[in-house]
């Protein structure tokens, strides 16, 4: 049953997304790939859309997948359960266990979780970049994708050397869209 799958899948995402917006991406990716709800390509598109619209990325992704797979109710269920753990845990900390985060065991857990989350995000990013630069059919390197990715990386990271704040993620997405139209459209 799709509603139950959405509920369990996004509850999992909501419960384990320690460490900010991008921490949820590998978890959402696990869920959507395991159920065959989306492929990496579509997920990348939705990450870009989420980055360019208001609201937290994980909430946006939950709404999109929920809507796509279970219509309006699917969207409501996925969005609600993805936020539920965050909501309940904050209430728990405020009402019952004010010192929960100061507990030495809790701190030990967090000391292990945080670097792990970073490793997971790093691996997901590296894998997606490499996968994008390989040709799907027949294997080998997709030279065009490799050159574009390299160019975008130079522009994005290089912009920080020129101006302190550098280029925003949305700006990078816009540049990439223009490059995409120019290169693949011709």
């Amino acid at each position: 049953m799709i509603y139950l799958d959405l509920l369990l899948g996004f509850l999992e995402v909501g419960l384990f997304s320690f460490g900010g917006a991008y921490a949820a991406i590998p978890l959402v990716r696990d869920v959507v790939l395991a159920h065959g709800w989306m492929d990496d390509e579509m997920l990348s598109y939705m990450i870009a859309v989420s980055e360019s619209t208001p609201g937290p990325i994980m909430v946006n992704l939950a709404t999109y997948v929920g809507s796509n797979k279970g219509g309006f109710f699917g969207a409501v269920i996925a969005t609600t359960v993805v936020m539920l753990p965050a909501f309940l845990i904050i209430l728990l900390i405020m009402v019952i266990a004010k010192n929960l985060l100061k507990n030495p065991y809790m701190q030990a857990i967090l000391r292990g979780l945080k670097p792990c989350v970073i490793g997971v995000i790093l691996a997901t990013g590296v894998y997606m970049i490499v996968d994008n630069c390989l040709r799907k059919a027949g294997g080998g390197v997709d030279v065009v994708a490799l050159v574009i990715t390299g160019g975008l990386a130079v522009i994005y990271f290089g912009s920080r050397k020129i101006r302190k704040k550098g280029m925003s993620p949305i700006m990078l997405i816009c540049v990439a869209a223009v490059v995409g139209v120019a290169v693949y459209g011709i």
């Binding site: 460490g19 590998p26 965050a86 000391r111 490793g119 790093l122 997901t124 894998y127 990715t149």
Partner: protein, 166 residues
Amino acid sequence: MLSIIEDICVEKKNWITHDEMMNITVIAESTPGPIAINCATYVGYKKGKLPGAILATLGVAVPSFVIIFVISMFLEGFLEIAWIAHAFQGIKLAVGILILDAALKMIRKMPKKRLQIGILIAAFAVILLINVLNLHLSSIVVMIAAASISVAFFLAGERRRKEEQT
């Protein structure tokens, strides 16, 4: 995101103080879920108990829900238009860079202790392997393992300290 929350909750509405805002930021870093939700629940509960918490949390989610719900009805249709599909082919390449950048920023901020660095490298290697070999193993398993290892090291450290005292 954080600056908008601070501007509204601290400066304009005086719902919480600067210190509380700092406190929420620390809590948000150690709890799952987006900081906007954490913050809305905190401020909502402080100002209006449970109903306040529920309404504030819904309030912060509804705009993005509506926007994405509308987008979800049209996106696949849009992707059939050639030039939009081409634009997204380019955008897809940028997303990998954004994810990589998010990880690099987090690395710069994290404490560089031996155990932490070890866990980071191990998690990186395991997740990469899972993807390359196309195994269906959730990252959550890796996260639970990392938390367990960290607790084990903590307990071992405690025991050593006790033994040294006696």
